[in-house]
């Protein structure tokens, strides 16, 4: 039972429909067979009674005249060895006299003239008892359970006096082939109907189950494979399954949104943590670094003389300066006091990256030029745009194309930098803005970290879309009009 309950709807619905169809077919067949059987029995009874009556009427005179041969001939004439319906053929016909002795029969050897059928015991004895019980002028149908025959008995009545009886014995067995034939016929018709109906029912049942199966299949994808679940083909009907499909689509949409938010938050939090850590480290490094550089400068200025020491200190100074630069790059500090960002800044930037672009034969396309100056720190914005442009040129295909666009509105500066070429793989995406996360050999990999830090400090937002052939960095930065 459990196995049945666990069965897929793919099978369960069609099987149930098949069951219903088969059940109906069987019930109808059974009803038809029962009806036919009843009719057959009634026919047989009616036939037997009418034959018995005719024989009884016809046999009165031969019995009165003790004319055995004529009685026998009459019985013979009532037989039809080539009958179409053998079950309508009486197996044995007995004519008895008033004392229940055989007057004549169709089986003279079994029922010799003058013998008593009751002396054979069994059924015929009971027939006699049955005859005693009823009025002598009534017909009777007797069906003894233990006999292979059932009997129709009709009295031979002349002027109200019973001369004897005509007893027709019908074989119950000869009735069987006809009945089996009937059942066979009904079964055949049922089978034919089923052959026609079953495939339709099966297809129909399968189609009924399909939307549910699609829904179940889509649900299995949640939550690991939300994108597949979202794109699954679900029923669009307005019935309950359709509503379920709609609800499911909504749910998957919300789940996906939530997951994206979570991912974003994770990145943001991690970046913030890195920012705090780098700031702390930079501070801790900067203090001794400043002291060390000052000490070297002091020595160079006052204690010069030893060329080996000078050479060593010069080496130390270069190294320490590099550390300072690196730390400075990590620790982006917003200089709020700056001039506003001008449209000419963009022209400057394009001139700055022109050499790089030429080297890689990348075309830079400028969309939606800025029309006025914005109250945002020009140095920082230039830094952001420069980093993004250089990244884009490096990522673009040889001879490819980079687009830059800037728009303003609702107190927001929105810009995007877009390049063709290889896209950023998913696994790199999560760490894209982290320092030293770059996959490139050139540079430190601090460019995007700096961009992120600056945008963050300016209270803006940053987004990346990367698909094969198109990688776009978008940023929005709020500003306040004077």
């Amino acid at each position: 039972m459990i196995a049945l309950a666990d069965l897929s709807l793919r099978w369960k619905i069609p099987l149930r429909v098949m069951g219903a169809v088969l059940g109906t077919a069987l019930a109808v067949t059974a009803a038809l067979v029962t009806r036919e059987y009843d009719e057959m029995r009634q026919n047989l009874d009616a036939h037997g009674k009418s034959l018995a009556r005719v024989l009884a009427n016809t046999l009165v005179t031969p019995v009165l005249h003790d004319d055995i041969w004529r009685a026998y001939e009459i019985l013979q004439s009532a037989r039809d060895p080539t009958a179409i319906a053998p079950e309508l053929q009486a197996d044995v016909v007995l004519v008895t006299d008033a004392e229940f002795n055989v007057f004549v029969s169709t089986r003279p050897r079994e029922f010799p003239i003058g013998s008593s059928p009751a002396s054979r015991g069994g059924v015929y004895g009971r027939l006699r008892a049955a005859l005693m019980k009823t009025r002598p002028t009534e017909q009777q149908v007797i069906e003894p359970a233990d006999s292979a025959h059932y009997f129709v008995m009709s009295p031979l009545v002349a002027d109200g006096v019973a001369l004897g009886h005509v007893i027709l014995g019908y074989s119950k067995i000869s009735f069987l082939p006809r009945f089996i034939g009937l059942v066979g016929q009904a079964a055949f018709v049922t089978l034919l109907v089923l052959v026609v109906i079953l495939p339709f029912s099966w297809i129909w049942a399968r189609r009924t189950g399909e939307p549910l199966l699609a829904l179940a299949e889509a649900m299995r994808r949640v939550p690991d494979d939300l994108e597949v679940a979202r794109l699954a083909e679900l029923p669009k009907s307005r019935d309950e399954i359709g509503q379920l499909g709609d609800a499911f689509r909504r749910m998957v949409g919300e789940l996906k949104h939530k997951q994206e938010l979570e991912d974003q938050m994770l990145v943001t939090e991690r970046l913030a943590a890195i920012g705090r850590m780098t700031a702390g480290i930079a501070h801790e490094i900067n203090n001794p670094l400043g002291g060390m550089l000052t000490a070297i400068k002091t020595y160079q200025r006052h204690g010069a003389g030893d060329p080996l020491a000078n050479q060593t200190l010069s080496l130390l100074e270069r190294g320490l300066t590099q550390i300072r630069h690196t730390v400075a790059a990590l620790l982006v500090e917003t200089k709020l006091q700056d001039r506003p960002f001008e449209p000419a800044d963009i022209d400057d930037l394009l001139i700055l990256v022109d050499a790089e672009a030429r080297a890689r034969s990348v075309t830079i396309v400028r969309e939606a030029p800025l029309e006025r100056s914005l109250p945002l720190p020009a140095t920082l914005l230039r830094q952001i745009l420069l980093n993004l442009l250089l990244n884009a040129i490096a990522a673009a295909d040889e001879g490819g194309r980079v687009r830059i666009g800037l728009t303003t509105g609702d107190g927001m500066l929105r810009f995007s930098v877009c390049n063709d070429g290889k896209h950023i793989p998913d696994e790199q995406m999560a760490y894209l803005f982290e320092p030293f996360a770059s996959g490139r050999e050139k540079g430190y990999g601090l460019g995007l970290w700096v961009v992120y830090q600056i945008v963050q400090q300016l209270g803006g937002g940053l987004a990346v879309d990367s698909e094969p052939g198109c990688t776009t960095f978008r940023a929005e930065i709020p500003y306040v009009e004077n």
Binding site: H47, V54, T58, W69, A85, P108, I113, G114
Partner: protein, 320 residues
Amino acid sequence: MLRCNLLRTRNVAEIEAGAADFALIIIAMNAGDYSSAGSRRRTFLRSALAVAAMPLLPVRAETGVLRIGLTPVFLDDQLSFLTRWRVWLERRLKRPVVFVQRGNYREVLDLIRGSKIDFAWICGYPYVRYRHELRLVAVPLWRGRPYYQSYLIVPADDRKSNSLTDLRGKVFSYSDPDSNSGYLYPQYRLTAMGENPTTFFSRNFFTWGHRKVVEAVGVGLADGGAVDGYVWETLAETHPALTRSTRIIERSPEFGHPPFVARPDMSAAGLQRFRAVLLEMPADAEGAELLHLLRLDGFVVGQPSLFDEIARMAARVRKI
């Protein structure tokens, strides 16, 4: 009433062109509309009534038409044979011939004694009873001689009975009370044994035909029966299945074969003419073929003394 009608469809049919054909047509029509066993039987009964209701041609001695009465002393139920014989007789006699058949010997006897028919083929027993009235025309030759026997038969599966005495208390079947072989001889045998023929058997019945005696004994309806030996032997050739179900336990001495007789007032010329035709049968190709179908060799004039033995038995039986 109904009983008689049923049997008349087989025995009564007057073998006269019109009547016989009409009866056959009715039977054929009935055969066509059988639908089920039940309705078939009812139809059969109805048709029997129809045949009975059909006015049979009045049996009168009309000028021109020769009426010949037939009885079951031979296999008189072969309608196609009778038609051929009738046509042959008409051609030879140059006048229309009508065969008249009845349910038993008695009716045919009444017809010939009353001169309602011209000739009749009857049994030797009624002939000897009325030989002062009837005139002997010809006696058939069976196996070259004008004699036949009575056979006492029992069912083939009865292995015990070997003589008439073994049948005491059994059911016995006679053919016709006016038959020598089928009634008189067994009656005579019992009488000669000192038995009372009316009580010797527990039951007896008449089948009104020798062939039916064979049937009755064959199916076991009767434990024994008396039958015309000539009919039995002919059946053994034409319907061996019938005779195979019976066994002969006694054969009687030879008796004069059932003769053709003429009505009391038949003219000598008419008698001679009919006798001549019968005697000529073997000489004619068609006649010989008809005789062969009857399993007879021809006819002889025959002497009334041929039937003296039957007369003796009849006298003995009648005394009791």
